[in-house]
């Protein structure tokens, strides 16, 4: 299975905007660079239909097109890409070995940009009905709910973006939010409040998801009045936050209590020569532009580290 044991200058873990930007910088710096990605490149942003806030694109660009362009740009400068799952990192003094499902790869420096994945809500019925009405991707699954009623759980940017997206298909979109105000950015809130198909249920949490073969009801509790109600829906879209993909890093690199990687302003982690970038690092603002910026900072840090 081991494809190569040659030492790379830099191995980048994760092919979202952070990893791809890091790759553009390290490859342009003429460092032998390998990007390891478990599937196709793109990261979370490929679930976003239109990216409206990445500078330089006055006409909207899709998340997929944006990241494909980044990958093309990095590849042009010599970045290699490997499809593999990273299972661990061995720190052997100055050398780091990235362990993957396709073999072990030594490198002088490592940039961890493995991003995050959708958080599960953790209520009865959620696991059972995943793919049978419970979904974590509105752009993927919205079309299956044409002329049906759906719920979106959450109150942040992801939740409101998904609710708006779902109005193209569903006949009614109920946003279930545990607080009495949204966290989503104002322009999204304005759009949501104006959209007739969207109704927001404030101060409400899902207690369970029920149905027969497919979802038909969510059981709700109002956290202020304790009043319990049932809401008939065919789909429940979860947008209740993200968890970082750092499971394999515990005990190797310092993580904060939410599991993200602790970095300084140079994107240096607790291990010299190991950098982190994008949504996976502590206090990330979870935006493409920030991830891209982190990637550049980490890449320049890696370049300096290797030169020393």
């Amino acid at each position: 299975m081991v494809k190569s044991s040659k030492e790379y200058d830099v191995i980048i873990i994760g092919g979202g905007p952070a990893g791809l930007s890091a790759g553009i910088y390290t490859a342009r710096a003429r460092l032998n660079s390998l990007l390891v990605e478990r599937g196709a490149v793109g990261g979370q942003i490929i679930n976003t239909e239109w990216v409206e806030n990445y500078p330089g694109f006055a006409e909207n660009i899709s998340g997929t097109d944006l990241t494909e362009a980044m990958h093309k740009q990095a590849t042009k400068f010599g970045l290699e890409t490997l499809v593999a799952e990273v299972t661990g990192i061995d720190i052997k003094g100055k050398q780091k070995v990235v362990k993957t499902s396709q073999g072990d790869f030594p490198a002088k420096a490592v940039i961890i940009a493995g991003g995050s994945e959708r958080q599960k809500l953790g209520v009865p019925g959620e696991a059972e009905y995943t793919g049978k009405g419970v979904s974590y991707c509105a752009t993927c699954d919205g079309p299956f709910f044409r002329d049906k009623a759906v719920a979106v759980v959450g109150g942040g940017n992801a939740a409101i973006t998904e609710a708006l997206e779902l109005t193209k298909f569903a006949n009614k979109v109920t946003v279930i939010h545990r607080r009495d105000e949204l966290r989503a950015t104002k322009i999204l809130q304005e759009k949501a409040f104006k959209e007739k198909k969207i109704k927001i249920l404030w101060d409400s949490v899902i207690e369970s998801i029920t149905g027969d073969n497919f979802v038909d009801t969510v059981k709700l509790n109002n956290v202020k009045t304790q009043k319990k109600t049932d809401l008939k829906v065919s789909g429940v879209f979860m947008a209740v936050g993200f968890k970082p993909n750092t499971g394999y890093l515990k005990g190797i690199i310092e993580l904060d209590k939410t599991g993200t990687i602790i970095v300084n302003e140079k994107m240096e982690t607790s291990v010299p020569g190991v950098f982190a970038a994008g949504d996976i690092r502590s206090n990330s603002i979870r935006q493409v532009i920030a991830a891209a910026g982190d990637g550049a900072v980490a890449a320049i840090g890696a370049e300096k580290y290797i030169a020393e």
Binding site: G39, G63, V83, E85, T130
Partner: protein, 107 residues
């Protein structure tokens, strides 16, 4: 035949239900990010299971009836068919090792 083959809905019966070999159907659509993510992994599995499993891709955009018949409400969905019956279903992006294990167990 070690690459996944894109089929039309009209060919589903012939290519999947009446196939000699077990068939892994990748229900996908062009608008779906995780479907794109999983595609290179499915391609690698197609190579590794060459001769044991055939791999087809069905774009649900043009195959609404088949998708609905098998209760597809989330993509990507990978469904393994043996002798015309679905025997295993994997919903969403999963790493290759996990997919391989599921395939090995179902075969």
């Amino acid at each position: 035949m070690s690459k996944p083959v894109e089929i039309e809905e009209a060919k589903f019966e012939e290519s999947v239900l009446k196939a000699e070999l077990p068939v892994l159907v990748d229900f996908w659509a062009p608008w779906c990010g995780p479907c794109k993510m999983v595609a290179p992994v499915v391609e690698e599995l197609a190579e590794e299971f060459d001769g044991k499993v055939s791999f087809v891709k069905l774009n649900v955009d043009n195959a609404a009836q088949t998708a609905s018949r098998y209760g597809i409400m989330s993509i990507p969905t990978l469904m393994l068919f043996k002798k015309g019956e679905p025997v295993d279903t994997i919903i969403g992006f999963r790493p290759k090792a996990e997919l391989k294990k599921s395939l090995d167990m179902a075969l």
